[in-house]
Symmetry: C2
Subunit: 221 residues, 2 copies
């Protein structure tokens, strides 16, 4: 029986496309390239630092990844430009079906678990009024351990106070699906981009192309 | 004083471009796309499995990453095609200056430290006659710990029998430079692609655009 639903944030509840638009506005016709390198470097930096045991918070990693991307593409930048782009992370759009899905998931406990800093997540939830629909917002920054390390999921389960199988964790990211399922959560994969499943020897319990469809699949469990 | 020189293999001593050519031969005009997704997924799978504490050897991860890439691009494949592409990993070309550089690095102890399986590395060294120039070939598969985890470098240092500062580790990969320097090796970055340094708060001790230039920089230390 699912007693709590836990959501990843970026790419799962929030569309990160508007960051690309901002990049394109500041660097015409370069937005797609900047975002592609930036997103990959952001993930790389999380993983490399985790593996090296050199934790740094997500905001600063994201900033370093952005600066790297601009340097690789030989684009000029200064602190003001970087801050302007980064601030887009505080004003992302919710995917259109999210609020409706939240209502279907009730009366279970609902929370976010993200690699983002608490400040980033709180601002985003407030700016999009999602805070009214959530019981908790959990940042790995509280634990200084990034997903997909098992400890990030385990410390969250303890904080929520449920057994891991009673928690449905939902993410659009293959690495997050693998990590959370490997840890022991019940897992839903939001395959928004219609991609094949990552070949990591792990399958999610539920798959759907948007959050409302996923909510309807688990409504009676 | 540098008593041993340790080399990463893929991208550092060996050019992985021929793998792209094989992909392009089997999937005309798709080689570049396949290799791009494949290389990224190969790294992702190493890191995600490391973080999840679910080790699998490099050959099987590389195979899973290749299958994923073909699936994402909606290309048909079978076991025979996959093996044909993978076998390119056993027949990569050495970068042209490598043998000459090895002679400059002598009389120090010379070895490879790679995430690849021992079978892959041994075949490659034999096929390119690099084995005649090396004292040891070390695969992380012996330790079941991938780079850039500190243990991968530490277990290698113990096996070589030198203090970590006496070992010069050389890699073209930013994550490997960061991991090895963070562990404590003396580190040379082979910036073959003229890219900016990864922004991970760590700088290599030496940088050069090819291995001969790097060898000449450290000839007297």
């Amino acid at each position: 029986m699912i007693k709590a639903v836990l959501f990843d944030a970026y790419g799962t509840l929030y569309d990160v496309q508007s960051v690309m638009k901002k990049c394109d506005e500041l660097y015409p016709e370069k937005g797609a390239q900047i975002s592609q390198i930036w997103r990959q470097k952001q993930l790389d930096y999380v993983w490399i630092r985790s593996l090296m045991d050199k934790y740094a918070d997500f905001w600063s990693l994201t900033k370093e990844a952005l600066c790297y991307s601009l340097e690789e593409l030989e684009l000029q930048y200064n602190e003001e430009i970087v801050e302007e782009i980064l601030n887009e992370y505080l004003h992302l759009n919710l995917y259109p079906e999210v609020i409706e899905a939240m209502n279907i998931f009730r009366p279970r406990k609902l929370a976010i678990l993200s690699n983002g800093n608490l400040h980033m997540l709180n601002e985003l939830a407030k700016n999009t009024s999602l805070d009214n629909h959530l019981d908790d917002i959990i940042s790995v920054d509280d634990f200084k351990v990034y997903k997909p390390k098992p400890d990030a999921y385990d410390l969250t389960a303890k904080r929520l106070g449920f057994d891991k199988e009673e928690i449905l964790f939902i993410s659009s990211n293959g690495w997050d699906v693998a990590g959370s399922k490997s840890y022991g959560f019940t897992v839903g994969w939001l395959n928004r981009l219609h991609k094949p499943i990552d070949r990591l020897g792990i399958k999610p319990d539920y798959t759907a192309s948007d959050l409302k469809k996923l909510a309807q699949k688990i409504i009676n469990i």
